[in-house]
Each structure stands twice: as structure tokens, then as C-alpha cells.
């Protein structure tokens, strides 16, 4: 059996380890933190599986990788919900809705009655919306735990408090580095993009699917987590300082939730989260092969959406020496911007 070490137990690391183990490799995971999710931006992710909505502000590659990943999630994490995304804008921002519709696909333009049928608690709030029926969402923390559970079934250990380097892993035939921004020294051009979120609890209010509220400056989404929990996110700030949320960001997130529905004014703030996503200059993911190390990095704000598709490629690169130009070749990537 091929022995492979995976460094990093965020969504990229767990997905890579699972793909490798399912293909018969003997895998061990090394994570510098003391428990699952600690310090990982995966822990504060939105968990939206929204390949078409993301097309609004990203390259077609993201949609392609995302479409591959939805079935992967449904097979491995049964609590993955695929019941669509609702995109709304307040009356004064309807130009944003038109703009969004012009840049995306696979949605239905729906009226107030259809909005009320999909989301009864939003009845009367919006006259028009875009409904992306084929999109999904999941609870990132439950998903990470489920992947860790499957890895345990496949006898893949996760070593916590284990900050390791390649030199210490002499036994491994290959190393898959999924350490995000911590790999910046090895991957020039990698930068941090800060994201901030709040977790709210609101009783007697239900959303069945993620709702994106468009706004010219502060687009925000609200993702239902079940049992009255709602995640409101997320900011995009060109910053690698993930320590604290700013008052401004907090105001923006809460204002957007309140504007979606005034009921959010009564919500309890359970948690404030920040994370720093690793991104390359084109905000597209990369597999970088250096000797017997494969770096899986630059997943930006698309971790849960594209990690499975990236993991599949990484596993095949490690075990079969396969080549994937769309995520490996600089030439292919640059052509898209030519």
C-alpha cells in the first residue's frame, strides 16, 4: 500500500485523505491544532454548495469543480441539503438583481407568491427573487465531523498537536500539503483574504435554504443551520489578520440580517467567527507538485464547494501521476485571462 501523509485537517485535508484512503492508500493526517476545526477557516465557513451563484464573481472553473462536488457530498454526508438558493434584493437595489441574473445561469426568476411558497417567513418581504433550484448547503462543522468519522472507519488516524515537516515524514512515499495560508512560504503569491461571520439563534423563524441579499456594497448571505441557528456571512477583506472582527463588519452583517427580516433584531448572538482564506492572485485553486509533495491550496472562499473535486485530482496525481491542466498548468490558467 502506498503510504501518504496529509498535513492539515481542514476541509481540503480531510477530503484529500478520504479520496486517498478510498483508493486504497494508507493515510495519516497531521494537524497542528489540538482539535478538529480549531484555527481552520473551514470551521467558520458558510457551507453553501452554490456553483451557479458563485459564477457571478468567479471564473467558470469554480462552477465546474463545484458541480462535481455536490454528488460527492451527497454520497458521503447524507445531511447535505439540495433544495436551492434564494437570491433577493431590496426594492432600491433591484438593479443588482438584474445584474446578478445577467452573470449567472440555471435559475428561475420568481415572484412574491413563489417566494412565499418557498420561504413562508419571507412572505411579503420581496417582490422578485432568483431561485437556483439545483444548489445545496451543509453544516460545515457537522460535515467535517462526518468526514473524520468515515476516515476513522477506514483506519486513517488524525494526529492533533502535530506540526510536522516533510523531513519528519520519512516513511511517507508522498505528502499532501493542505495547510492553507501556512504554506505561503512555499507557494509564492498566496495571500490571505479575511472573512467574518456571526452565528445567530432565532426561535420561531424558519428559512429552508440559504438566502443571499444583494447590495451594491455589502452583499450578505444567511444560511439556516437548523434548530433556530442562522449563520450570517461573510465579508471579503484583503487582509491576513484573522484575529478579530471589526465593528464595521459586525454592523454590516447584522444590518443585512435585520433588513432581510426585522425578526433578526431579536436574535441572540451565539458566536462571532473570523477566518483567513488562502487565495492566489486569480482566486483559483491550484495543485502544485514539487517532488513527492502535492500542495492543495488557494481554495479561497470555495472550500466546501470545490474541495471534493480538488481532492479527487490530488489523489490521482499522487497515486497515478495524473496531470490536470485546469488546476496545475500556469499556461492554461493564464489563458483564461488573456
Amino acid at each position: 500500500m502506498t503510504r501518504v501523509a496529509v498535513i492539515g485537517a481542514g476541509i481540503a485535508g480531510l477530503a484529500c485523505a478520504l479520496e486517498l484512503a478510498e483508493r486504497g492508500a494508507a493515510v495519516e493526517i497531521f494537524e497542528r491544532a489540538s482539535q478538529l476545526g480549531e484555527g481552520a477557516c473551514s470551521w467558520v465557513a458558510g457551507g453553501m454548495l452554490a456553483p451557479w451563484c458563485e459564477r457571478e464573481n468567479s471564473e467558470p472553473l469554480i462552477a465546474q469543480l463545484g458541480l462535481e462536488s455536490i454528488p460527492w457530498w451527497r454520497e458521503r454526508f447524507p445531511r447535505t441539503v439540495v433544495n436551492g438558493t434564494l437570491v433577493v434584493a431590496h426594492a432600491r437595489d433591484t438593479a443588482e438583481l438584474v445584474q446578478f441574473a445577467g452573470r449567472t445561469r440555471n435559475f428561475a426568476s420568481i415572484d412574491a407568491a413563489a417566494i412565499a411558497a418557498l420561504e413562508p417567513d419571507l412572505a411579503g418581504r420581496f417582490g422578485r427573487a432568483l431561485y437556483f433550484e439545483g444548489e445545496g448547503h451543509l453544516d460545515p462543522r457537522a460535515a467535517l465531523a462526518a468526514l473524520a468519522g468515515r476516515l476513522a472507519e477506514l483506519s486513517v488516524p488524525i494526529h492533533f498537536c502535530a506540526a510536522v515537516s516533510r523531513a519528519q515524514l520519512t516513511w511517507a512515499r508522498a505528502v499532501v500539503d493542505c495547510t492553507g495560508l501556512a504554506a505561503a512560504k512555499s507557494l509564492p503569491g498566496l495571500r490571505g483574504v479575511k472573512g467574518e461571520m456571526v452565528l445567530l439563534r432565532l426561535r420561531d423563524f424558519t428559512l429552508r435554504r440559504p438566502v443571499r441579499v444583494l447590495h451594491p456594497r455589502l452583499p450578505v448571505y444567511v444560511v439556516p443551520r437548523g434548530e433556530g441557528l442562522f449563520m450570517v456571512g461573510a465579508t471579503l477583506l484583503e487582509s491576513d489578520d484573522g484575529e478579530r472582527i471589526s465593528a464595521r463588519s459586525m454592523l454590516e452583517l447584522l444590518s443585512a440580517a435585520y433588513a432581510l427580516h426585522p425578526a433578526f433584531g431579536e436574535a441572540h448572538i451565539l458566536e462571532i467567527g473570523t477566518g483567513v482564506r488562502a487565495a492566489f492572485a486569480d482566486n483559483l485553486p491550484r495543485l502544485t507538485v514539487r517532488g513527492d509533495t502535492v500542495y492543495v491550496n488557494g481554495l479561497y472562499r470555495h472550500g466546501f464547494l470545490i474541495a471534493p473535486a480538488m481532492a479527487r485530482r490530488a489523489a490521482r496525481a499522487v497515486l497515478e501521476g495524473s496531470h490536470f491542466p485546469e488546476v496545475m498548468d500556469e499556461d492554461t490558467r493564464q489563458q483564461r485571462l488573456a
Binding site: 452573470r103 490571505g192 451594491p216 484583503e238 487582509s239 491576513d240 489578520d241 482566486n283 485571462l337
Partner: protein
């Protein structure tokens, strides 16, 4: 050539750096626009201090002049502090001064703007104030030390073009020697061409390029529009008339029955 604070520039198209899908797309748009000045918002992009280095170094690598702005500032003090931070981060005395007075329209607070411009000019900054088309405010900004003015076309991001053409023309006529850059509100290349035809020295575009379906192609379209508008201004347009004036003399043409 365009002269801004003793700096000669070939390009009359300035680009803002916000709202692109990635820094790489921003870079491609800058190249397609052949722009020489890119504005950067410290407040939004960096959230302060030096944490935005990753993005800022990408902007520096574009090989263009960086014009840091004070976007999102609502008071004199905030704007001055942000300008200081910008000078430290980018090593330039240039500052695009924005003091927002009204959150809905992002209309400048011209009173605070004049005050902040005075403070920063005294401190050696070269100030590019984002202002309205108001003549009196323009006078005050020049007295405060500004040598360039950036009047709005219409509210930021609105894409409505030159909302008050009469007022803007009056401003142009009143300050023939001051570089005037139309900032904000340009939606399509024809708006930019109109601004240059009217004798404005340059335009600054952000949303119209960044949020276009194909930002790189739109950047190229704006470059062509700006070139065309400038050439038309230099060439001296004809005056509009109320009646037709045949371009071919009628006398002597063949009889048509």
C-alpha cells in the same frame, strides 16, 4: 500629456481596484485599459495596519502609480488618519480624498472635505479631492492647496453618467487650467467619451469595469472611448444647429426631376 502634480501621464483613464473577481482580473483590466494610475482603498481592503500586504504587493506589481483613497471615511479626522497610513504603506504623497457626507448617495461632505484638504496640503500631501460640481467648493479646495479636482459625474456606482452636464461645463469653463478628473457615476464608455469631449482631463472608473460581465473587454472599450473623446475635444467639434445644413453645396449639382 496629462499633468498631475508635476507628473506627466499618457493615459487619461484611471481605474479603481475594488469589486474585481480577483487581483488577476484587475491586473488584466489595468493592462487592457493601458491605465497608469490605480486607486486603492485602505479602509476596505486592509482593515488597517499592514495586514493587507498580500493584496497591496499585487497592486504594486502592476507597475502603475497607486493613488490611495480615503473611501469610507466620514470625518476630517478619519480621512487625515487614513491619509497618513496610506503615505506610510505606499510611500506616495498622493491621496484621493473622500469624506462621505451621506450614506445613501455617498455624496461628499464638502465642508469636511475642504478642511481635510487644507490640513493634508499643509502636511505636504498632493490631494485629489472627490467633490461635487459646485464652483464655490472648487474655489475653496484650490485655496486649500489642491491642484487637481475630481468632480463626480453622478453618485458612486450609479452608472448614470454626467448627471449635471450644465454644472460640469460651467466648472470646466471656470477653471480652464486646473486638471479636472470625472470621478464616480460613469456607467458606459459613451459617458467617458462625453466627459473627454467636454474638455475634462481624465475619468476614473471602477464599478463599470469591475462589475461588467467581461471586465477586461470593458476596460479596453473605455480606453478606446477615452482616446476618442480626447481626440474629439482636441479636433474641435462642430456646433449643433437647429436646421439642416447640407454638407455638399446644392448650387451646381445635377438637376433632379
Amino acid at each position: 500629456m496629462l499633468e498631475l502634480y508635476q507628473t506627466s501621464l499618457r493615459s487619461r483613464l484611471l481605474l479603481g481596484s475594488a469589486r474585481y473577481s480577483s487581483p488577476a482580473v484587475l491586473g488584466a483590466a489595468v493592462r487592457a485599459a493601458e491605465t497608469q494610475i490605480v486607486t486603492v482603498s485602505l479602509r476596505r481592503e486592509g482593515a488597517g495596519e499592514r495586514s493587507g500586504q498580500g493584496f497591496w504587493s499585487l497592486v504594486r506589481e502592476l507597475g502603475v502609480r497607486v493613488l490611495p483613497n480615503t473611501a469610507g471615511c466620514h470625518s476630517v479626522k478619519e480621512a487625515v488618519t487614513t491619509a497618513h497610513m496610506a503615505r506610510e504603506v505606499f510611500g506616495t504623497p498622493w491621496i484621493k480624498l473622500e469624506v462621505i457626507g451621506e450614506d445613501d448617495t455617498l455624496q461628499p461632505d464638502v465642508f469636511a472635505l475642504v478642511e481635510a484638504a487644507g490640513i493634508l496640503s499643509t502636511e505636504g500631501f498632493e490631494v485629489f479631492p472627490y467633490t461635487t460640481e459646485d464652483l464655490v467648493v472648487a474655489e475653496r479646495l484650490l485655496s486649500a492647496g489642491c491642484r487637481v479636482l475630481m468632480p463626480w459625474g453622478s453618485p458612486i456606482g450609479s452608472g448614470r453618467g454626467l448627471n449635471n452636464l450644465f454644472g460640469l461645463r460651467a466648472l470646466r469653463a471656470h477653471f480652464p487650467e486646473v486638471p479636472l478628473i470625472i470621478d464616480a457615476g460613469i456607467g458606459v464608455p459613451s459617458h467617458a467619451a462625453l466627459a473627454l469631449e467636454q474638455g475634462f482631463d481624465a475619468v476614473l472608473i471602477n464599478t463599470a469595469v469591475a462589475q461588467a460581465r467581461d471586465p477586461v473587454l470593458m476596460a479596453q472599450a473605455f480606453r478606446q472611448a477615452v482616446d476618442a473623446g480626447r481626440a474629439a475635444y482636441m479636433a474641435g467639434p462642430i456646433e449643433a444647429r437647429d436646421v439642416a445644413q447640407p454638407s455638399t453645396p446644392v448650387i451646381g449639382t445635377a438637376f433632379r426631376g
